[in-house]
């Protein structure tokens, strides 16, 4: 019986990279079998297998991204995602001051209760996820973030059903939530205080942007409002350039973790912005994608150079 159990555990451990397994597999198998014996079990628990799968994947990611980088990226994603979800909820999902205009503009829109569309579920999951993270219950936050991703993936499918027909959320917004949700899962925010402060700052910036561009007027702005602002009024690539320069500066100063966190955290914003640009101005989108790739490459080289890595290119000698 123990052999079958051991075989099942070994199969589950394939989620881990081979280098990690070579070092730890026997000790982990011993512990897993001890735990199973202690609980008088002859089969692995599903929760145990899921836990091994998640940790195995994180260990694989950890080969390229150290834990400190992953934790920083997760913290920024959770802070900015919560701020985005909250502002999205207030200004675009609920916005009671635009209700009359919305009915006039979209008389056939079924709505989603008092809200515009089911994007409110994604926003609520983000808010709950943040709340549990601040309480230090990161496992619950992770479950809620996975649920937020799944709901964001399901909404466009359900929207096509006869009873639905909601206007939005747009695939750009849903994709943005999915990317931020995925990044929030790669680590654990290192400090709850800094997570709270970061979320507050991000929220204040987003509210200021919405307010500055008239989101409190009694006219319904539509689901694309935020990205329209980024495209036409704010020109996000002018903000992304200094961000990458700051990341390169940190990389050259030997602050590789900070540089990597900044560079990776800008990716969801850059991706969503590129999608919007590709629709309105494909040439600028290609230009923007090119410099983003170049910026990311320079940050990576700066970080690798300062961390003592050396990339050696050798020509293979086939003459022998």
């Amino acid at each position: 019986m123990s052999t079958i159990l051991e075989h099942q555990y070994r199969r589950t451990l394939r989620w881990y990279p081979s280098s990690w397994r070579a070092q730890h597999e026997e000790a982990v198998i011993g512990t897993l079998l001890d735990v199973a014996e202690g609980e008088n079990r002859s089969r692995p628990r599903l929760s145990e297998q899921l836990n091994l799968a998640v940790n195995g994947l994180l260990t694989r990611i950890g080969i390229f991204l150290p834990a400190r980088v992953r934790d920083g990226v997760a913290a920024v994603a959770l802070a900015t995602g919560t701020a985005f979800a909250t502002s999205f909820f207030v200004f675009l999902e609920w916005s009671p001051w635009t209700a009359a205009d919305r009915v006039a503009e979209l008389p056939l829109d079924p709505g989603f209760g008092p809200f515009v569309n089911p994007g409110v579920i994604v926003c609520a999951l983000w808010a709950l996820g943040f709340l549990f993270a601040v309480l230090g219950r990161y496992q619950i936050t992770r479950v809620l973030m996975v649920m937020a991703i799944l709901v964001a993936v399901a909404i466009p499918v359900v929207s096509h059903l006869p009873f639905a027909g909601w206007v939005g959320p747009s695939s750009t917004n849903l994709g943005f939530f999915e990317l931020l949700g995925a990044l929030s899962l790669v680590g654990t925010p290192p400090s709850r205080v800094r997570l709270g402060i970061g979320t507050g700052i991000a929220m204040a910036v987003l509210v200021a942007i919405y307010k500055h561009d008239g989101a409190f007027r009694p006219y319904y702005s539509g689901d694309h409002f935020f990205w329209w602002l980024m495209d036409t009024r704010i020109n996000l690539d002018l903000l992304l350039v200094p961000t990458f320069l700051v990341a390169i500066g940190f990389g050259l100063a030997g602050r590789g973790t900070t540089a990597a966190v900044i560079a990776i955290s800008t990716l969801p914003w850059a991706a969503a912005y590129l999608v919007v640009l590709a629709v309105t101005d494909p040439v600028q989108a290609i230009f923007c994608a090119a410099w983003l790739t170049a910026g990311l490459s320079v940050v990576s080289i700066a970080v690798l150079k300062r961390s003592g890595f050396e990339i050696v290119v050798r020509r293979r000698d086939d003459s022998r």
Binding site: G38, E48, N55, G136
Partner: protein, 117 residues
């Protein structure tokens, strides 16, 4: 380590190692006991924590042995691990002391009413 919060599973693993080296299963059982059954560490979570603590220099390998055909790898606290755990215990004691002092200062009328009016 100083600029980041210590999470409960990490605190429990370090505490379990405070009185000597232990292997994986012993750490899981001890974390369960220390937390009064509240924290049940999964094997994947435990080894992720040990990996991380090892990288931070707080925990080190302390030998291996084979029992009933199963490999048991032992772990121990490093000097830095002891220092970090001591700092965390002092911080928790200070917080608990302040909470206790404030509870003692609670007005008698509020205690009799059983809470806020």
């Amino acid at each position: 380590m100083a600029d980041t919060e210590m999470r409960e599973p990490t605190f429990l693993v370090l505490t379990a190692l405070a009185n000597g080296r232990k292997h994986g299963y012993a750490l899981i059982k001890e974390a369960d006991e220390l937390s009064g059954g509240r924290v049940s560490l999964k094997v994947g979570t435990l080894y992720a924590a040990l990996d991380r603590l090892g990288q931070q220099g707080l925990v080190a390998d302390a030998g291996e042995e084979v029992v009933d055909g199963r490999l048991r790898r032992y772990y121990k606290l490093t000097d830095e691990g002891v220092e970090v755990l001591e700092r965390e215990v002092t911080r928790l004691e200070s917080n608990a002391g302040q909470a206790r002092a404030r509870l003692r200062l609670r007005p008698v009328s509020m205690q009799a009413a059983g809470g806020w009016a």
